[in-house]
Symmetry: C2
Subunit: 275 residues, 2 copies
DNA sequence: GGCGGCGATACCGTGGGGGTATGGAAACCC
DNA sequence: GGGTTTCCATACCCCCACGGTATCGCCGCC
């Protein structure tokens, strides 16, 4: 199977429409139709059910969509990492914007003090995107937060575990309490983060896309949220926190793609775990 | 990058010889040379250092060899899993030949008793091959033994942990002792298992390639070995065991490729962990 | 029943991948 | 040191497969 065929199939499987898929691929529709039929014939498997009105995935097509995306990611990763290996031998670290406030600078300082340290570029991204960045080679190492982020298919090392606190404006009804419980918060509208595709699930809370925006909304009294306690060091005035007793513990882990233990990466991981 | 280019590059990088690589690929040498140069030009990266006498990998070439193998594995996996999804919806479980003697049948029985169980095909392979089989889609799930097998890039669930015993012929000098230590065994020639490429590292012990052969050699007095204690249930007469106090504990885990939680697989994993 | 949307089919042109023949550099050998 | 061998690169050619345009066939809809 060639990556071209995979790209074609993934486009069609995502659009469920040959015309739109062809447009997305920058080609005409007939060659795309043919390419998919050829792929089906070569695999000996029906991937799509076409009526002249609609296209749906078969069981096998669903599998190939999932596996094909992963395979394309791996190919792109190979390309990116090769390119990067030829130029800079620095590392790219990715973390959620606004997360890991304290830990990150400490880690970078500790690593930079090492004898053979290489430059570390820090990329901040939206929640849940780190895995994709690692997978397709745009990043070498990530900071993830369990249990929110998935570590499927990554090697990890635990760094810290912390409890969570409710973040709210100073005058909030809970601001004078010594602690709260999750059940106290059930009625409060929680801000909604974007899904992987950039859209928002429906719900009562405001839509946010980064931490600064979130903290502003909280300061404005439009939202409250539950965050790891380390955020307290980076809160400006006007915001206050109380512990949430039964919120899940948040573990920060450093994660990297398996089989990629370059010397530089090993050094960074070691520096991080020694903190 | 097309998989064809990747296959070409991997072949050349492994052979370090354009002529042999071309033969392996079933093509002539000149088009192969050209394809590699094109790849280098497109990536903007030198992958190989050629003198007219020898070919060596550059730094970037080393990266692409590693990443390219993984990417090709992912593509093959996509193909195989798609094919399998269209026919049988059974599972393929892979384990080292001779290992997991007790656990495996129990697990399969427990799973078969479940309401929606699908057929499970059991494949036995040499040590260290399970990961490759999982990765390229020939297997869905594997039994691995820590700390010997690598679980890099796999999702796992621990099943059992056991200590190890020395296996030897009945009349062996250690057979009357209550226990031994690793230091007692330092002088004994241990059998050598094949590496990933099927070759053997040099050393004093006999070369073995499966468990039956190993046990026969032990019965013949030509070798002794250290194995997880569960092997005791499958030893025939003439062999005996004593505990090795300070041998590493062996943990049997069930492992599967990330992102592949089909219903059937989830059921099998659940049945296994409930044992 | 005419129309519009969509996927499949028919047919054509071209670019690129693969072939053979040959060049050119470096090691080896007597 | 010149001939020989070895090995990768270049030159040239051919053909197939990929992509484009035109068109058909099917089906829902107004």
């Amino acid at each position: 199977m060639e990556t071209r065929e995979l790209r074609y199939f993934v486009a069609v499987a995502e659009e469920l429409h040959f015309g739109r898929a062809a447009a997305r691929l920058g080609m005409a529709q007939p060659p795309l139709s043919r390419a998919i039929s050829q792929l089906e014939r070569r695999l000996g498997v029906d991937l799509l059910r076409r009526t002249s009105r609609s296209v749906t995935l078969t069981e096998a097509g669903t599998v190939l969509l999932r596996e094909g995306r992963a395979a394309l990611g791996a190919v792109e990763a190979a390309e990116r990492r090769t390119r990067r290996a030829s130029q800079s031998q620095g590392l790219v670290l990715v973390s959620k914007a606004g997360a890991a406030g304290e830990l990150l600078p400490k880690m970078l300082d500790a690593y930079a003090a090492e004898p053979h340290a290489v430059p570390v570029e820090v990329v901040l991204c939206g929640a849940g995107q780190q895995e994709a960045l690692l997978r397709d080679g745009r990043a070498d190492v990530a900071l993830l937060h369990l249990p929110f982020d998935s570590t499927a298919g990554l090697d990890t090392e635990e760094l810290t575990t912390e409890s969570q606190v409710l973040v709210m404006p100073a005058g909030h009804e809970f601001s004078t309490r010594a602690s709260v419980r999750m059940s106290d918060l059930a009625e409060l509208p929680m801000p909604r983060w974007p899904e992987l595709d950039g859209t928002y699930l429906p719900g009562p809370g405001p839509e946010v896309h980064d931490a600064t925006q979130l903290l502003q909304l909280i300061a404005l009294g439009r939202a409250v949220t539950v965050l790891p306690e380390s955020v307290r060091t980076s809160l400006h005035g006007g915001l206050t926190t109380v512990p949430v007793l039964d919120a899940p513990l948040v573990t920060t882990v450093i994660a990297w793609p398996p089989h990629s233990r370059s010397l530089a990466l090993a050094g960074l991981i070691q520096a991080a775990t020694r903190l």
